[in-house]
Amino acid sequence: MPRRIVAGIQSVGHRVIDSIWRLGYASRFFLLTLIKSGTSLHRFTLVIRELYFTGVQSLIIILVSGLFVGMVLGLQGFETLQRYGAESAVGTMVALSLLRELGPVVSALLFASRAGSAITAEIGLMKATEQLAAMEMMAVDPIARVVAPRFWAGVISMPLLAALFSAIGVYGGYLVAVILIGVDEGSFWSQMQGAVDFRYDVVNGIIKTCVFGIAVTAIAVFEGYDAAPTAEGVSGATTRTVVTSSLAILGLDFILTSFMFRGMG
């Protein structure tokens, strides 16, 4: 019995040490990516190729889900606001909830599962098939050639995708509230413009998406690079990317929100 307890404590300790070790390795890897990204920014065609895969190919899922989220917000907002006779404020509600929270968070979650997992699987498979080792043999740095372009492509495309998500979401809300239900169009837009502040709401939302973009792609490239070079290892790394980056997005969102929106008084 005591031996079992000792083994249990040992396994807990081992896990803690292992996760701290991985965190340190991930930070070192992140710094290395930043340092070596000079070449990838120099050869920008590499980044453009990755922008196509992470950005352009995520467009459809982002646009469709943005439209539906906006439409649902329009319906639900109307349903509740109508009780207080404030249905013309539905535009304000849709715009503020999209710009501050739903746009950045939902598009980052979609981005993590659509593009982040693909990045991890691609890099992990490159490692499993020894392509990364072959690059090193040819004196090509895999971090500069493979990791950094994917990182920068993710960082660039995330704010653009989130902006598209919010913009199409607002039009989705407009579609439901104004065209379907019949809220007055003028008050829909004018109340929205009266309540949404460019610096306070739009810029803070963009800052959020930039942070999420960095977090998601940094996690994705690290998990891919760190994956065990087996089929099982790659699948585990892909799962970890989605789980870790979703948790990171939600945790970072709480931290950023508590810094940004602490009441206007």
Partner: protein, 161 residues
């Protein structure tokens, strides 16, 4: 896929993203309707600002003409200093009357400007002399109850006489 088509798609994607940002800034946000660049700053002393907040609108005849940028407390006069930016398209006479109003019964509070008749207009850094404090509901109820009570006692007195 060919490099040229890929470049085209990425270019379209970046353009669409920047377009969406512009839509958010101009159509959804207030950058198109009101910009902080061409505005002048005016200060008003209020005895009580109630629940007025920074960024609350400044309205005249119901039209938003500016925003509250800062609220301070003055230890010289022991009242609130409300600093507001007013769009420089709108000039107001020097004797403009500023009051804190509420939109609806429980709506947000804003500053209402009622123009006076002075020839000279407010300039950057000026102070609005005539102000009217916010209506605080508790004070109003207190006054109302007090008036009722004094009415009741005076009518009792008159009955005795």
């Amino acid at each position: 896929m060919q490099r040229a088509t890929m470049d085209l798609w990425v270019g379209l994607f970046v353009m669409a993203g920047i377009g969406a940002l512009l839509v958010l800034a101009l159509k959804v946000g207030n950058l198109g309707t009101y910009s902080a660049n061409d505005s002048y700053e005016v200060t008003g002393n209020f005895e009580n600002i109630g629940g007025l907040k920074v960024r609350a609108p400044v309205k005249s005849a119901g039209v938003v003409v500016g925003r509250v940028t800062d609220i301070q407390f003055s230890t010289e006069t022991y009242d609130a200093l409300v600093i507001m930016n007013i769009d420089s398209r709108y000039k107001f006479p020097k004797d403009t009357f500023a009051s804190i109003l509420t939109s609806g019964l429980i709506g947000e509070q804003y500053i209402g400007l009622a123009a006076g008749g002075d020839e000279a207009t407010l300039k950057d850094g000026d102070t609005i002399m005539k102000t009217n404090s916010a209506l605080v509901l508790e004070e109003m109820i207190g006054k109302f109850l007090f008036n009722k009570a004094s009415e009741g006692s005076s009518s009792e007195n008159s009955d005795k006489n």
